[in-house]
């Protein structure tokens, strides 16, 4: 279980996060939604250990963490295949091939990041994170820049990978529909200095599939909170 407790973070005089508290159960997908610049990426950086908070603790993130960074962070001198395979010590060729196929990069295995479009780099980054054997998966706007159909495909893939591995997933997104499609719970952050102002538990996937219009009320609720 991932426990984020009393996190405070500021950049110089600018307070960014203030008293952030939440938990993510094992094998739960939690989406974090909030206005631009409210510190969502900072929060993921703190959870991953890349940044140290001014105050507060994160527990349960001591083991392997996979991270789909907002800015890709692919090795520019390595190919798509190498960027993915490098994260594990032994190459599982079949798994890598399948992942590359699933993210739609088949035929681009030997391409280097500079030869790929922004969306392709993002997908390579997603494949790398899925390939890494981790207990926690952090995703910072992972599907930004992908077209609608590709985004739907990636979301389905996330659910498939999650069903198979049952990881703890925390993903930051601007798209309410993405959160409604895959998350078990949604955390809404306030404006800067941000804290969790609302936590919404979503119905099960079966319920969502049976009554998709049932999500309209939740969508409206989120919109009204964010717009305030």
């Amino acid at each position: 279980m991932l426990i984020v407790k009393d996190i405070y973070q500021s950049f110089g005089e600018l307070p960014v996060l203030e008293n952030i508290n939440f938990m993510v159960e094992d094998d739960e997908i939690v989406a974090v939604i909030g206005p631009s610049g409210c510190g969502k990426s900072t929060l993921l950086n703190i959870i991953s250990g890349i940044e140290k908070p001014d105050r507060g603790t994160v527990s349960g993130a001591e083991n392997e963490i996979a991270f789909v960074f907002q800015d890709d962070r692919l090795l520019p001198w390595r190919t798509v295949w190498q960027n993915i395979s490098i994260v594990n010590d032994k190459d599982d060729v079949d798994v890598i091939k399948k992942l590359i196929y699933d993210v739609g990069l088949e035929g681009f295995e030997q391409y280097k990041p500079a030869q790929l479009s922004g969306g392709m780099k993002k997908r390579c980054c997603i494949a790398r994170a899925f390939y890494y054997k981790s207990e926690i998966l952090l995703m910072d706007e992972p599907f930004q820049g992908l077209d609608y159909f590709l985004r739907q495909k990636m979301l389905k893939m996330l659910l498939k990978v999650w069903n198979a591995n049952k990881q703890t997933v925390l993903f930051v997104t601007h798209e309410i529909d993405e959160a409604l499609m895959v998350a078990n719970r949604i955390l809404i952050l306030s404006n800067r200095p941000s804290s969790v102002i609302k936590e919404i538990k979503l119905p099960s996937y079966e319920e969502r599939n049976q009554k998709p219009c049932g999500l309209n009320g939740i969508r409206r609720e989120i919109l009204s909170i964010i717009s305030k």
């Binding site: 250990g49 890349i50 991270f67 800015d71 962070r73 090795l75 490098i86």
Partner: protein, 251 residues
């Protein structure tokens, strides 16, 4: 590259070569052979150099001195650059020392080296070391400083081993800096090695240039200088074909 572009590239090179020959020809007709020797006399001297085993040995001697100087200079420069790049304390301590190596003229080093090593060619090696060291050290330091910290964070997060981090993050980041530094060091190394030989010994290419100066044989001075230019292009070409090519394939 398309065939047309390649042809054009070589055509420009031939044109440039012809331009030099034309200017040379014009000057040699206007001035005495002691000031500007004729093209044919220089060509004859060049032939003599390449036909004589004794003279080829002189080239070999300079090559060996340059290689020893470069190896030592690159080795110390690499270690110094890595130390400066990995620790602020080392940077503060070593940077002024590197500054000294950069600013002290090679001629001063030659004079000092003559006192330390004598007239035996070692001063030539020594000044290649002193000129190579700062170029390599500063560039390796710059390379390490410019490593993308976001990639380092990614590598830590995905728990890359130390070797993996070095091979896949640090090494490729430094290599472009090292490559250009090495090319610069090689180019200046030829000149400096020969200068050291001119001033401190009677063998090697520099020793032959000194001999030609004493005998007032400008055609030989030019011929030996052409030998150095040819050697530089060969070494640069070989480096480009092997080491740098492999690296660019890898990166």
């Amino acid at each position: 590259m398309k065939n047309k572009e390649i042809t054009q590239k070589y055509a420009y090179k031939v044109l440039s070569f012809l331009l030099i020959l034309t200017v040379w020809k014009v000057l040699s007709t206007r001035f005495s052979p002691l000031v500007v020797p004729t093209i044919s006399s220089v060509f004859e001297s060049l032939l003599e150099i390449f036909m004589s085993e004794e003279l080829l040995k002189m080239i070999f001697l300079t090559v060996i001195r340059l290689l020893i100087g470069l190896t030592i200079g690159v080795g110390i420069g690499l270690v110094t650059g890595i130390l400066m790049g990995s620790s602020k304390i080392f940077k503060e301590i070593l940077f002024p020392i590197i500054g000294l190596f950069q600013t002290i003229p090679p001629v001063s080093w030659v004079v000092l080296a003559l006192v330390w090593f004598g007239f035996n060619g070692r001063p030539a090696i020594f000044i290649v070391v002193t000129s190579t060291l700062p170029i390599i050290a500063i560039n390796v330091y710059e390379g390490i400083s410019s490593i993308d910290q976001r990639l380092v964070e990614m590598a830590k997060l995905y728990k890359y081993s130390k070797e993996k981090r070095f091979i896949h993050v640090v090494f490729p980041s430094i290599m472009p800096y090292f490559n250009s530094a090495f090319r610069i060091a090689l180019g200046s190394g030829w000149k400096i090695a020969v200068m050291g030989e001119v001033l401190t010994t009677s063998d090697g290419v520099g020793g032959m240039i000194k001999l030609a100066r004493l005998n007032v044989e400008p055609e030989n001075i030019i011929a030996w200088s052409i030998v150095i230019v040819i050697l530089f292009y060969i070494s640069d070409f070989l480096l480009g074909k092997t080491f740098f090519r492999k690296e660019s394939d890898q990166c």
